[in-house]
């Protein structure tokens, strides 16, 4: 940690840079924020040089030398400029497969509508003035609607079995259902970990520590390889569902720890007051303790959601077709084999959009909590 010693001349610049802003004008701002001292000037010039160089080569690769479309699968032109220019032609060629996997081509409006339903659901749940009991009903209805859309078999929609699902809807399903079931599980386990009953407490501790102690991959291996061993003969659970169960257990353990932090922040007096009113254990926790506890930990909860959303990409390793797996599979096609960077950037943009929205949201909530 010796590098701390050569920290910037003022380790807490917030106050100072604000006071410097008074001079006004673009030149004043530049002097205050980029060229305030000799070391700062050197750093600024170096960074401007490096940034300009990086920008020029990125623009050259991404725009000026890039190829945006090629006639059917003739990627010779793309390959000729490999390394010098991007081949964005791969995206319009493959984006349907990347987004929806092997879902029947003429039915792909269904996963598209399901994806939009998910996004609408997230949006509705993020509004603070809509946090009511009815929201649970909305969630239930939306998840049923998504299930009907994806499976079909009713209302004249042809049935599509879930091994043909793929891409973004699978990522969203794994994340959303994992959280929808993991959250109540987390609440129960968090309460159990704070219970006065030793047997229940130690069971909860065992569960949380075992799940948190091992990598997610080993849980997924367990779900894909070991789970069938533990089922009686003839019971065959689908691979996607097995992964989903692993994700629920995984989310439950991590969410339980976050919620436990919130429970610890609720003052003792609240417990005592609830007991004095003669409320039962479940009423006390459901009406008095948990609402306060969860309110305390909303920002870390959202951060856990982000981490969890990113972690769904690990199903690639057990061969489930989520967004990352379809991206990786899309470039197996020999004609497009050497353009993985472009495809990964495209998929990265989708992941980034979701995670960035969530992290912005978490930061806004934190700011709100700080101001009240």
């Amino acid at each position: 940690m010796t590098s701390i010693a050569d920290a910037p001349e003022n380790p807490l610049p917030v106050g100072r840079s604000r006071s410097r802003r008074g001079r006004g004008g673009a030149i004043g701002w530049l002097r205050a924020n980029l060229f305030s001292s000799i070391p700062s000037t050197v750093i600024s010039l170096l960074l401007i040089f490096l940034l300009a160089k990086a920008c020029v080569s990125l623009l050259q690769w991404g725009f000026w030398n890039a190829i945006w479309s090629v006639p059917d699968n003739q990627t010779g032109a793309c390959r000729a400029i490999r390394g010098l220019g991007a081949c964005w032609a791969v995206i319009p060629e493959k984006f349907r497969f990347i987004l929806f996997g092997t879902y029947p081509f003429d039915q792909q409006w269904r996963p598209a509508v399901a994806t939009l339903t998910f996004i609408a659901l997230f949006f509705v749940s993020s509004r603070r003035n809509w946090w009511r009991k009815e929201l649970v009903l909305v969630w239930g209805a939306a998840l049923v609607a998504i299930g009907l859309l994806m499976w079909g078999g009713v209302f004249g929609l042809p049935y599509v079995s879930q091994d043909r699902w793929g891409g973004l809807p699978v990522t969203l399903i794994l994340a959303t259902f994992g959280l929808a079931f993991g959250f109540p599980l987390g609440i129960v386990v968090a309460l159990g970990r704070r219970s006065k009953l030793p047997a229940i407490r130690s069971l909860c501790v065992l569960y949380v520590e075992l799940i948190r102690g091992v990598p997610l991959i080993s849980l997924l291996f367990m779900a894909s390889v070991m789970f069938p061993l533990f089922m009686p003969d003839g019971v065959n659970i689908d691979k996607l569902l097995r992964a989903q169960i692993a994700f629920v257990l995984y989310a439950g353990a991590y969410l339980a720890e976050v919620i436990r932090g919130g429970l610890q922040a609720v003052p003792r007096g609240q417990h005592e007051a609830a007991d004095a009113l003669g409320l039962s254990y479940w009423k006390k926790n459901g009406l008095i303790i948990l609402p306060q506890a969860i309110r305390h930990v909303i920002p870390p909860l959202v951060n856990t959601f982000i981490a969890f959303f990113k972690d769904t990409s690990l199903v690639l390793i057990i061969g489930i077709f989520d967004l990352l797996t379809t991206a990786k599979t899309a470039i197996i096609d020999p004609a497009w084999q050497s353009f993985s960077v472009e495809v990964y950037l495209f998929v990265g943009l989708i992941y980034f959009a979701f995670c960035f929205a969530m992290s912005r949201y978490s930061r806004r909530l934190e700011a709100q909590a700080g101001s009240t």
Partner: protein, 395 residues
């Protein structure tokens, strides 16, 4: 209610309700534990039945059998003729190799970026913020595949890039110059380590003396002599050789030097950059958590900036930094298991191959769990010890 006017009926009811509560507690515990045991027993009987149908014998006897799997990146001597146990140990060493080096590099990089975010230079702090935001909001596996693809897209060994003399970057990985180690070198290193310990002890002595009489004392001349001078003397005395072996291109590959395989290098880059973004945020919030008044007070006492930073700001920031840092180290170690996606053979990858070859699913997963729980426990214990050492001493 006072002692002089007892109300027997009420007291009795109270006692009953108390014991009822206890009884209810006991009842629920028995129910929950009973369900847990029943579920485990049911799963176990299914597993026993399925294993006997598939003729897989449980137990760890398979560890003594010949593994027959090649391991490309083995630090220890290993061939496919070795046993599964040996393969597991090689995998464990590979996991530790990526985790330890990753933790060190991620700490250094993350600290630098965290401090850069607090810089008064607008451009530097903005760039650091963008770095953190971008890397945190992309899945690690995606980043890993991205780096791996970039590695594979590097020129072949013949046309390798040479940024510094003797350092080659090609699709064979990163090749660095190495120093051949013999007995003399080892003695010199031992001397340097002894010098380091001696200067640590001396530092504590000097601080104690400083506290006693208020006279600051210089450590660095002694430290320089102990850490550099003394090993140099030993090296000269023993006549140890410090030749640097430069890697050379022969045919299609490099000879000599120290090679980091593309798989290892991609995994290391991905883990270090990803974790450093989280560490940067921890370091930033840790430094910001120290109240401004602490800084002002140190200046008012006439302390030098570097002294105040080292002895007043950092000790307080570290108290905020250490606990979340521990969980980042644990995350990095667990995330190193993503190695399986690029074919670097860490313990999880080896266990997975074993599982596919022998069908010993339960044992393989149990070994993974054992290894990771032990590593997690080790890191937690070390960090808790460190945390206790730097914790606030209430007087």
């Amino acid at each position: 209610m006072t002692a002089s006017t007892p109300e027997p009926a009420r007291r009795k009811r109270l006692r009953i309700s108390l014991s009822q509560e206890r009884l209810a507690g006991l009842f629920w515990q028995i129910v929950v534990v009973g369900i847990a045991i029943a579920v485990v027993a049911w799963l176990w009987s299914n597993a026993a039945h399925n294993l006997s149908v598939r003729r897989i014998s449980t137990g760890f006897a398979f560890l003594g059998r010949e593994a027959g799997m090649p391991i490309a990146d083995a630090l220890l001597a290993y061939s496919p003729k070795n046993t599964y146990l040996r393969a597991f140990i090689v995998g464990l060493v590979n996991t530790l190799r990526i985790a330890v080096i990753g933790i060190v590099l991620a700490t250094v990089l993350g600290t630098m970026i965290g401090i850069a975010r607090l810089s008064s230079n607008w451009l530097l702090s903005r760039l650091a913020a963008v770095y953190v935001e971008v890397l945190r909001d992309l899945p690690l596996l995606l980043q890993l595949l991205f780096w791996y693809v970039l590695m594979q897209g590097l020129p072949a060994a013949r046309a390798a890039w040479m940024p510094i003399d003797g350092v080659f970057l090609s699709n064979r990985g990163l090749i660095l110059p190495s120093i051949p180690i013999d007995e003399g070198n080892l003695w010199v290193m031992a001397a340097a380590a002894a010098g380091l310990i001696a200067s640590y002890v001396l530092n504590r002595r000097l601080i104690a003396q400083h506290l006693r009489d208020g006279q600051p004392r210089r450590l660095w001349p002694y430290a320089l002599a102990l850490v550099i001078g003394w090993p140099a003397l030993v090296s000269w005395g023993l006549g140890a050789s410090w030749t640097i072996a430069m890697p050379e291109l022969r045919g299609f590959n490099f000879v000599g030097g120290w090679t980091l395989s593309p798989e290892y290098f991609a995994l290391l880059v991905a883990l270090v950059t990803y974790t450093s973004a989280f560490i940067a945020e921890i370091v930033r919030s840790g430094i910001q958590a120290v109240h401004r008044g602490q800084w002002d007070a140190a200046m008012a006492l006439g302390l030098r900036r570097s002294f105040a930073l080292r002895h007043i700001i950092m000790p307080q920031a570290l108290r905020v930094i250490i606990p979340p840092m521990t969980s980042q180290y644990l995350n990095l170690t667990k995330n190193s298991s993503l190695a399986v996606a690029v074919g670097y053979q860490d313990i999880v990858s080896i266990a997975n191959t074993t599982l596919n070859q022998t069908g010993q699913a339960i044992e393989a997963i149990a070994l993974i769990m054992l290894v990771f729980l032990t590593i997690s426990l080790g890191i937690s214990l070390f960090m808790n010890w460190y945390n206790a050492r730097i914790a606030l001493v209430e007087r």
